[in-house]
Assembly symmetry: C2
Homo-oligomer: 210 residues x 2
């Protein structure tokens, strides 16, 4: 499991020639960093008299941030496995026309599977953005810059994951699947942009207060 | 050293109540993820006949990405240490007016030190963006989505680091230092935006090619 490696070791594997872990895994990991920071803002809010009124809300946000972090760390691994299966498909024989057809079909199917993992990463990052926004609104303002970093990393990770969906679309033969992917990504990226804006506006209101 | 911890352990520490590692450390780590991905694009280009002409250039980019990754992982630690020193300053006695003056002055000085670490993080992330741009232009186009992720994570990390500079400015008494910080950040963020745009344009030209 990549997530059990040392941070330095994970970075070394990312930098190495092997295609996994690659951009998809790095995106999932960056999303997990964002989720962890959103948890930290919750933890810096809970148990303080001043924020007693929002204690239950923040407790719920904390649970959700912990869960989405687990999803994202699992997706680091899932991305590597889906990509490995796709690489195997490329190694199928392509002598006869039957072999060629089977290979093209298998590559298309494995590409769909390989594009679904970064799509899950993107959806999880959207959740991180929503949670960072929620805790930025009610949490301890002294930790507001951490909520901002959570949002910035989650949105960059979401956009990164979308490029990893995109790179797989070229080998997919199902045109309606491609069209719906492109549409869904466009909508998701727009929502992510708006959520990030909202968190950064709140952050600047606090940090640049005269 | 945080960087020797397991990835899962680092995320746990980030999520915990302790203020370090926090947003600054997460930004430095996200920048290091970007640097590692830029290295990977180099490694997927080197030694291939097709890219023999750019072998020396890519070798240089690889060295630079490796070096900036080391800088960024060291900055994860430096950020925690600078923040720790600032927290100590807040604990200074504040009974007499002399004590109060000394405390305010010490907090201001430690805040300058604590703001200089995220500024170094931001500058290192700018280097990652430049290197991602360079390798996106000459490297293996099959790894172009990894160059895009490198740029996205590095720019988000740079913006994150700037919020960590900003949060320290409130406790700094030297107004000319604050003004020059704000100006420098504005210019750096603009350059980062343009570099990211350039990498993403190149990426979309390749991935969306009909």
């Amino acid at each position: 499991m990549f997530i059990q490696e040392s941070c330095a070791g994970f970075l070394d594997k990312l930098a190495a020639k092997d295609a996994v872990p690659g951009g998809g895994g790095a995106a999932a990991f960056a999303g997990a960093l964002g989720a962890a920071l959103a948890s930290m803002v919750c933890n810096l809010t809970l148990g303080k008299k001043k924020y007693q009124e929002v204690e239950n809300t923040v407790q719920e946000i904390l649970q959700a941030t912990t869960q989405v972090r687990q999803e994202l760390t699992a997706l680091v691994q899932a991305d590597a496995e889906a990509f490995g299966a796709l690489m195997q498909a490329y190694k199928l024989p392509k002598e006869s026309s039957i072999e060629q057809d089977f290979r093209t079909q298998t590559i298309s199917l494995k590409s769909i599977a390989a594009s679904e993992v970064p799509w899950q990463i993107a959806l999880a990052c959207k959740k991180v953005l929503e949670l960072a926004d929620q805790v930025a609104q009610v949490g301890n303002p002294q930790a507001i810059s951490d909520a901002a970093v959570a949002a910035l990393l989650a949105r960059a990770a979401l956009r990164s994951a979308c490029y990893n969906v995109l790179i797989n679309l070229g080998s997919i033969t199902d045109k309606s699947y491609i069209d719906s992917c492109l549409q869904n990504m466009k909508a998701l990226k727009r929502e992510a942009f708006l959520l990030e804006e909202q968190v950064l506006e709140k952050t600047e209101n606090i940090l640049l207060r005269p």
